[in-house]
Amino acid sequence: MKILVAVKRVIDYNVKVRVKADQSDVDLANVKMALNPFCEIAVEEAVRLKEQGIADEVVVVSIGPKAVQEQLRTALALGADRAIQVETEELPDSLAVAKLLKGVVEKEQPQLVILGKQAIDSDNNQTGQMLGALTGMPQGTFASKVDMADGSVNVTREVDGGLQTVKLNLPAIVTTDLRLNEPRYASLPNIMKAKRKPLDVTTPDELGVAVTRTVKLLKVEAPAERSAGVKVADVAELVEKLKNEAKVL
């Protein structure tokens, strides 16, 4: 069984972004970039399925400029076998990403496609579901457990009310939540080995997809800042302030 994992290059989760002075976007110059944490979990899950002998090949794909090869190499160091970059300088929206991924799915014919539930830059939470609609595949979103069976997969999902389990026919899509697994660190030998693993570059043209954007970014602002309030000395003062000053008790 082949697994395809889609990974995105995003700002490192520890970095607090700043808005550009002209409000055109956030400032990503000289900011540390990394594999989207949910994508790291996706790669880990695929690699574990391979280690358990359930999968035999793990292919990672990323869409973006040349720089995304860095994250593809990271994924290869974590245990993926082969990488594909869909090279584009434009910033494709989620629908365009889903169309490009559909193109890759048609070529690679994976039985399972694993994505992150959410990219921590756009906070969109939609690409996996869109790919599901475009390919007709079922989806197990926000997964905290993936159980492969013959011809199907059971996915336990983190939902607002608790946990829900669904059974999906293969091929299927899974998007990862935080509790699915704890990703490993890439070892130095594996980082070296990853440099020699195959990384193919393709283009939207070759996949027959036009990268478009129907949603324009007009402005990016800093959120209303909260200012630090006061420190209270003890519980009595806290209760008094909440009653008489904030009037929330």
Binding site: A133, P138, L168, L178
Partner: protein, 309 residues
């Protein structure tokens, strides 16, 4: 303009998030229809018909929609949604699950998690864990939108008198099936709708100690939340996680106990009206957003707080 709002419900009750989504729809303006898709959900349809500003309630009542699975619900909403200029649903785990499928089937973008309506085609939404607010404009003929419920004031639950009409169309789901669920049982108010929320973090040390929080919550009629660290450590279940990738809350009073205040946690609670932080580390970033900070050991503070309330 004509807007289709997809009701959020559990087949028995209309969720308050729907009334907030209706508020976003009213801000866009135009005729508003509500779709109630589910199984045995007539009571929900009746409740939706009473909500302020609704023209028509369309009910797709069929076993095929009983568990709101995205594969066929997304298709149904795309089918019905073709006739509208906007399709809105709350950004809950149900809305987030099926709405992007609807958007892709209609070949349009989805605008996720809006917090404000600027005009019929322009919306504000948080990005980068709420560290920036984007204003975006959609050129799509049909705008598919999920709504951050905490950012909108609910429309009145009563006073409306919409007509109710059945949707005959049944789309089956041949690729996915519901197996089971483990739903949290709680007497406490729902996290996302509570007036007061008290959350615990890694500082709570274990699940048993959450009882200290629950005792305070009982006094305040509060919901209990948690940081990711507390959920990952297994102290409490996942549905209690507040944050960028958990639940978004904006109560009148938020009390953070033994939580450091990482940006991912702040993203889920910093729109609360009043924030209290209890932490023994006076350098903890949570104090930068707290209206009232108490630097102390939570194991001393919580029993005292319970007594003094």
């Amino acid at each position: 303009m004509s807007i289709l709002v997809i009701a959020e419900h559990d087949n028995k009750e209309l969720s308050p998030a729907t009334l907030k989504t209706l508020a976003a729809a009213q801000a866009i303006g135009g005729d508003i229809d509500v779709l109630v898709a589910g199984e045995g959900c007539q009571a929900v349809a009746e409740a939706a018909a009473k909500a302020a500003g609704v023209s028509k309630v369309r009910v797709a009542d069929n076993a095929a929609y009983g568990h709101f699975l995205a594969e066929n619900l997304g298709s149904l909403v795309a089918e019905l949604g073709k006739a509208y200029s906007h399709i809105l649903a709350a950004a809950t785990t149900t809305g987030k699950n099926f709405m992007p499928r609807t958007a892709a089937l209609l070949d349009v973008a989805q605008i996720s998690d809006i917090i404000a309506v600027e005009s019929a085609d322009t919306f504000k939404r948080p990005i980068y864990a709420g560290n920036a607010i984007a204003t975006v404009q959609s050129e799509d003929a049909i705008k598919v939108i999920t709504v951050r419920a905490t950012a909108f004031d609910a429309v009145a639950a009563d006073g409306g008198n919409a007509s109710i009409e059945a949707v005959e169309q049944v789309i089956s789901n041949d690729v996915a099936a519901f197996v089971g669920e483990e739903l949290a049982q709680s007497e406490r108010p729902d996290l996302t709708a509570a007036r007061v929320v008290i959350s615990g973090g890694r500082g709570m040390q274990n699940g048993e100690n959450f009882q200290l929080l629950e005792k305070v919550a009982d006094k305040l009629g509060a919901a209990v939340g948690a940081s990711r660290a507390a959920v990952d450590a297994g102290f409490v279940p996942n549905d209690m996680q507040v944050g960028q990738t958990g639940k978004i809350v904006a109560p009148e009073l938020y009390i953070a106990v033994g939580i450091s205040g990482a940006i991912q946690h702040l993203a889920g609670m910093k729109d609360s009206k009043v924030i209290v932080a209890i932490n023994k580390d006076e350098e903890a970033p949570i104090f930068q957003v707290a209206d009232y900070g108490l630097v102390a050991d939570l194991f001393d503070v919580l029993p005292e707080l319970e007594q003094q309330l």
